[in-house]
Amino acid sequence: MNTYTFSLSGLNDANRELVPCQLGIIKPYLTANWVLCSDNEQVDACIVNDASTAAKSAVLTIPLVHELRLLDKGEFDSPLRVLTLLELLNYAESCLSSVPEDIHTSMAEWLSLIAMSGSGDLYFHAGTQTFMCVLNKVLRTNAADKHELVDLIFNSSITDWKKSEDVSILKPSLELPITSLLWSLGLKERTYATQKWNKPDTLYRLLSWPQLGHWESTAPMFRLASLYGRKAASIKTGVLVSGLSEEEVSVFLHACSVSGLKVNTEKEETDSVTQPPINASLSVLQAFKAKLGL
Amino acid sequence: MSQQLVEQSERLEVLLRSLSEEYEGLRFVVLATSDGFLVAHAGAEGQSTDMDPNRIATMAVSFTGLSYSLASECEIGEVKGASVESSEGLLLSRLLFTEETDFVLLTGFKRSVNHGIANWTLQKAYDAVFDCLNA
């Protein structure tokens, strides 16, 4: 049986005090183990008293309905009675269990879509009072620096960012190219990248180069860019030519994709690369790299 | 090319023609700006339908320029002429410096002409062209 966490938001004290007792009563009838957490914790589901409130730290938000009307599926009325709580938690479990393992959306892909939309919408992170707005490939923000913003976005979820209509409130202290930020953000999304990009029997081809040397980069990334820019190749080939792990090669491709570079995929036919011998030509190239301080 | 040079080119063409007629063994003369534009020539087109005076001018400029760089690198002093010796003839070229523009003068000689005469002819051609440019 799966275990999930939930919290309450906006309920009055009387209702709050009842919930643990109600939970004890309905426990044998629940399809999952449910643990009640405090308001500020990251939870799987949050029961909110006010429908206009989105839970800051929950995957699933379930608002209670106060009007006297026929309820649709997924709607539950207030006050929170014991049977209502039972139905609500079983419903929440059915929603959460149908979400695949990789429910963690790529924040980089989300931001990339916003950038591509060209809407110039302002997004606001309530927890840190951080704004960001993307227009004409430039991101404007009141974050202190790029790394702080990247960390914030990476550690947040889509629901943490609310659209704000009032663009004038943005007083940016920082402007930076969105592609550079997306690249850095993409490099952090290791779990997502591995799930998405490390597909068996798939070859990847880069149709344009990342701005290595200008964006965050390491020496092996140059080889990866050379490889996937030259021909369609598998993750395994990427590992062989770069010396990186499969995860790191996947992350590279993911970062290329979210920063707007076209990455084509093909089904693998033949892609065999054997371990290359070290010969004079390669050693002189290595000497050249060493000379350049690379 | 400057307007002045365009106007001079006709006179230079006449001069180069007279030079090629005056000096036995001189097959053709080409004058180009030092950055590769043909200014005037005599005899270059007539030798063969494949000879393009514009192309020859540009090649002469590269060749002469490289020769001067080579001479400078070898520290052998002032260049009197750069040469190409082949089975059917001899090419000699030289840079010509004026206040406004620099030029390359290329002379092509028949096989029968010896080096000394060729160098002497090049010098004569150089002096004549120089005087004409500065007239």
Binding site: L207, F222, A225, V273, A280, L282 | T33, S62, G65, S69
Partner: protein
Amino acid sequence: MLLKVVFIGPMGSGKSTAIQTISEIKPVKTEARNTERFKVDKPTTTVGMDFGEINLGEHGKVALYGVPGQRRFDFMWPIITKGAMGAILLLDCSQDSCWEDFKYFVDAFTKFVDPSSFVVALNRADESDIDHCNQLLMDEGLTMPVFCSDPRSEQDLTILLHVLISNAELRFLLD
């Protein structure tokens, strides 16, 4: 062992400057007074070639060659590019003829140098120029690394050379 890197591009794109920036020897130049200052306002232009060097000690040398950029000197191009491990195509995006030159030089030099050995360096450019360049390449079915690069910047040029080296390494590994 001698490695050869060739700098190509139209007149005034920064080829001689780039070689000057990274050469460990005083570059050999073959320059003449520029009579086309209405096109590119610089006093001299390359009419033969530029030559510079990077010393790799016991491993050999890297020879840096610059071609004359004007099309009338195209007879020099196959001579100078022969045996090159890679070509760096420099473009000045402030020039009106930039993209026409780009297409011309890619077309001309891919006859002499393997397209996978190219690096494109855009001077006085921004991201939109990179995007435009990538699109032009994609239209031709080509993938080449494209960077903003200042020919006076050793750091920028080092990135270009790193890319060239990576491409060369891949050729040894895959071919």
